[in-house]
């Protein structure tokens, strides 16, 4: 691999942008295709789009008959939890075990203490201040867990705007009904609000905070693995 291509690829990966390395297996010649590139005129345009969608690497035959390998690099999925609450205390270590990077945001410094979240990336700021730095994207899941509209609502709005692959919010149907009214007043379209998983988590009858954390993590994994096409649609929007 040309060192220039490797460096450019690592820049894309560090910035959490998808990229594909196209390798001619006979000659070893390579090129880098970025997700933001205009694929019009690329002989492999359809295949490349499909691979960005699926995230899967693989061998294909180019129109000229050449054997080509596509190494697809999509950003690793991560979870941003809003609320340094009991559920997040259980969610953080479980999500880390499952391979997710986890960030917890809560402006309430009584909750967001390092003692309660040892070894966890914890940001004691308002979501609207913290999220621009965190950089939400279609490979991020956002779980709003504070029960407090002042904290949760701005995070939900940011998550919907950024096309996060999963957006969930804690609260009963009644609570979510009121949330829906507030988000509508903020100018968010009904179909976007429909994307919020609420009440949050898979319906497994979870009762305790750690059980709710299991239900939330399972729902995030389901969103990630069973609906990859949604990531592409949202990132294209």
């Amino acid at each position: 691999m040309d060192l220039k291509i490797l460096k450019a690829l690592n820049v894309e990966r560090a910035a959490r942008r998808a990229a594909i390395v196209v390798t001619d297996l006979a000659s070893g010649s390579q090129r880098l295709v970025k997700e933001a590139d205009d694929l019009g005129g690329d002989p492999l345009a359809d295949v490349l789009s499909a691979r960005f969608r699926s995230g899967k690497s693989g061998r294909v035959e180019a129109p000229d008959g050449a054997e080509v390998f596509l190494t697809v690099h999509t950003p690793p999925a991560r979870i941003v939890a809003i609320g340094a609450v009991h559920i997040s205390q259980a969610l953080a270590p479980m999500a880390a075990l499952a391979g997710f990077d986890v960030t917890i945001i809560d402006p309430r410094t009584a909750f967001a203490t390092p003692e309660r979240f040892e070894g966890v990336n914890l940001v004691a700021e308002w979501p609207q201040d913290a999220l621009p730095q965190v950089g939400l994207d279609p490979y991020t899941a956002v779980a709003a867990l504070t029960h407090d509209p002042k904290v949760d609502d701005p995070a939900l709005q940011a998550a919907l705007d950024a096309g996060c692959f999963y957006v969930g919010a804690l609260g009963s149907r009644k609570t979510h009904g009121k949330r829906r009214e507030r988000l509508t007043e903020l100018g968010i379209a009904g179909e976007d609000i429909d994307r919020i998983a609420a009440p949050i988590g898979l319906a497994i009858g979870a009762a305790s905070p750690p059980e709710i954390a299991v239900a939330v993590l399972a729902q995030i994994i389901e969103a990630l693995r069973k609906r990859p096409q949604a990531v592409e649609e949202r990132s294209a929007a």
Binding site: L6, K7, T23, L25, R59, F69, T71
Partner: protein
């Protein structure tokens, strides 16, 4: 830092000669998915994996040659292959690994 591509860039920047191995095909039961990377330097030091540790030794040996010749190589390992059997791809699958120099 355990990411092979970041390591490949870092090693190259240090002036080490580096090869990159990539799993390009798997058949049957294979421990590492297509697209998995292994990075190797000219002294045979490596990071990453292209199998569950079964064929890394053979890939590293080939990679040192690739670094010397500068020519990419396609390697195939499977249970039907006696050499591969010796290095122990016992999971029952076959894999193809593309090894290329980084320069």
């Amino acid at each position: 830092m355990d990411d092979p591509l970041t390591i490949a860039e870092a090693w190259s920047s240090e002036g080490r000669k580096v090869a990159l191995a990539t799993v390009v095909d798997t058949w049957g039961s294979a421990p590492r998915p297509v697209g998995s990377h292994l990075v190797i330097d000219e002294e045979g030091r490596f990071e990453g994996s292209v199998s569950g540790g079964c064929v890394e030794g053979a890939v590293v040996a080939e990679a040192v040659d690739v670094i010397e010749t500068g020519k990419p190589q396609m390697l195939e390992f499977g249970v039907a292959d006696e050499t591969a059997w010796e290095v122990g791809l016992s999971c029952g699958g076959t894999i193809r690994v593309f090894v290329e120099p980084v320069r």
